[in-house]
């Protein structure tokens, strides 16, 4: 399934249409109107249930175009009338056309059927219409006879049977559109709020950096430290907003050195780490050039380093805690290891991949000491995979002791990125 929203919505509609066809044996299409023109959407299994009559007429010269134009006209008629109709196609088969109405607006027209109605009057109407098309298409006797034979073999339904379908399927589609509309409204709302947050954040970041650049010399060391912490907190907050994914830039790949990204991530979270008594140690061998979309990769590593700091146990008397960041060549890839000692990840969360699911928070992290959005790892994995890399996780229980922060684990995230040596 595509990542794009319109593609996902299309797949959702097709799934509903597919279920209808699978359960009724009737072909169906959903016609939406874009720029006043009908655009049809059909389930993947539509061909399996087309009437032989329809397949035959579409195989004749001009037949397919006639059928498509006829379907669009009938859908258009119901779109503008907003009333369900039993329509007769140009070749003599009936289709039910039902508008999908949400909030007094017709969002689409469902056209399904290709059938005869089991009633003398309706059958006669079918045959009359059929004859008219045979003449208009100037079919020879043999072809006309074959077509009539196939017409009379088409499925037959009663009007009561058709009424049943009319009650259920359009309601399902109406709910689908309603859900999509609600999702769209929420997205717009998130966009507006995020815009406000990022504007204020811009002000904080701008003023913090300007103060560092212009007034650092006038400040005592603690003052300078506080300013740097302020700036880095604001930049870290930007990473959190980026995890929403709504404001991510387009990926733009260029060859760039990797190590500044890790050093920047270290800088952002160093103050927080220091407050917890945690040292961030960083070491690279053969620093690489990576084909990267720099901002995306920066945010990905920001998340990973921040997680390592956040879920580390604190230092105390006689024990020093650290987060280890190490990079080294690993065949065709460059490996970056981010390791910490602290809250663990359950084996089943790793083996099932749940730990990378959007919004998922590891069970062992849900204690009274920490909060999180559950979005950071999901985001990081997506970015790394876009860079044709992969991410591996290990979490090993190192002691059976129960501490106030939980049982200590050695956690290791290894990120592999394709690279070239400097």
């Amino acid at each position: 399934m595509s990542d794009s929203l319109p593609a996902q919505r299309e797949e959702a509609h097709k799934a509903v249409l597919q279920m209808f066809t699978a359960s009724t044996g009737l072909p169906i299409g959903l016609y939406e109107f874009k720029g006043g023109e009908p655009v049809g959407l059909f389930p993947n299994n539509a061909n399996e249930v087309f009437e032989e009559h329809c397949l035959f007429i579409q195989s004749l010269p001009g037949g397919k175009a006639r059928c498509e134009a006829d379907q669009c006209n009938r859908a258009r008629h119901v779109y503008f009338s907003s009333k369900p109709q039993l329509t007769l196609c140009h070749a003599g088969l009936y289709n039910q056309a039902v508008p999908v109405i949400v909030g007094n607006q017709v969002r689409g027209v469902l056209l399904y059927g290709e059938m005869l109605i089991d009633d003398e009057e309706y059958l006669e109407a079918s045959l009359r219409r059929h004859e008219k098309t045979v003449q208009e298409m100037e079919l020879d006797e043999e072809t006309a006879a074959r077509l009539r034979e196939l017409l009379l073999k088409a499925k037959r339904y009663t009007l009561d049977q058709l009424a049943t379908y009319q009650k259920t399927l359009p309601r399902v589609e109406e709910w689908l559109y309603t859900l999509f509309d609600e999702e769209q409204r929420m997205r717009r709302s998130v966009e507006k709020v995020t815009h406000e947050i990022l504007t204020r954040l811009q002000a904080v970041i701008a003023n913090a950096e300007n103060m560092i650049l212009e007034f650092s010399d006038c400040l005592p060391p603690e003052g300078r430290e506080m300013l740097h912490a302020l700036l880095h907190s604001a930049l870290a907050l930007d990473t959190v907003v980026q995890n929403l994914g709504e404001y991510m830039e387009e990926y733009r790949f260029r060859p760039e050195p990797l190590t500044p990204i890790l050093y920047e991530a270290k800088r952002l979270y160093e103050a927080e780490a220091a407050r917890r008594g945690i040292e961030i140690r960083i070491r690279f061998s053969h620093p690489p050039i990576i084909e990267m979309s720099r901002h995306h990769l920066q945010y990905a590593f920001n998340n990973l380093v921040h997680n390592a700091v956040k879920y580390s146990f604190r230092s105390g008397p006689g024990r020093q805690r650290y987060v280890r960041i190490e990079g080294y060549p690993a065949g065709e890839y460059y490996a970056v290891v981010i390791e910490n000692y602290g809250v663990g990840i359950l084996p089943e969360e790793i083996s099932s991949g749940k730990i990378f699911e959007d919004g998922y928070q590891g069970k062992l992290t849900q204690g009274e000491y920490r909060t999180g959005s559950g979005k950071g790892l999901h985001f990081a994995k997506r970015v790394i995979e876009r860079h044709r890399g992969r991410i591996e996780v290990e979490s090993r229980l190192v002691a059976e002791e129960d501490t106030p922060e939980g049982r200590p684990h050695l956690n290791r995230f290894t990120i592999y990125l394709p690279y070239r040596r400097v």
């Binding site: 954040l201 970041i205 300007n210 387009e250």
Partner: protein, 142 residues
């Protein structure tokens, strides 16, 4: 020598600090706060050395200037280019959608910078664009 930069941004009172290093380097800023104001100053835009443009802008009048446009700044840029104004443009905005970016490239935007940005980073990127456009003007002039 300092350049003239027109900054089309409604929140300039909130985020003015982001251009402070550029001002301290001698560049002069003119602020336009909405679409209507920008439209009244096309001559200024034509003569400026650079336009800094946000995608999300208020209309500036009671009429909806671009009722179907989600990003009025994008529509304004189209108008600017249709008016034959070739001043280099840097988009400075929270908006970073791929479909928007594609049109911005087509409209000849020199850079798209996502907010929030460090003032030092903005200065570097603005001066890079100003430097390139100066070189282009030099080539044309000769």
């Amino acid at each position: 020598m300092g350049k003239t930069i027109v900054w089309i941004e409604d929140d300039v009172d909130v985020i003015a600090g982001v251009t402070r290093p550029l001002e301290r380097a001698g560049h002069r800023f003119v602020h336009l706060r909405n679409v209507a104001e920008a439209r009244e100053h096309f001559d200024l835009l034509r003569k400026a050395d650079l336009i800094l443009l946000d995608m999300i802008l208020p209309p500036g009048t009671s009429e909806l200037t671009h009722p179907t446009e989600r990003y009025p700044g994008q529509a304004l840029l189209r108008e600017i280019r249709e008016a034959g104004i070739e001043t280099p443009v840097i988009v400075l905005s929270v908006v970073a959608r791929e479909d928007v970016h594609r049109e911005l490239e087509r409209l000849g935007v020199a850079e798209v910078i996502r907010k929030p940005v460090l003032p030092s980073e903005l200065k570097k990127r603005v001066e890079a664009v100003l430097g390139n456009s100066h070189k282009e003007k030099g080539i044309l002039a000769s």
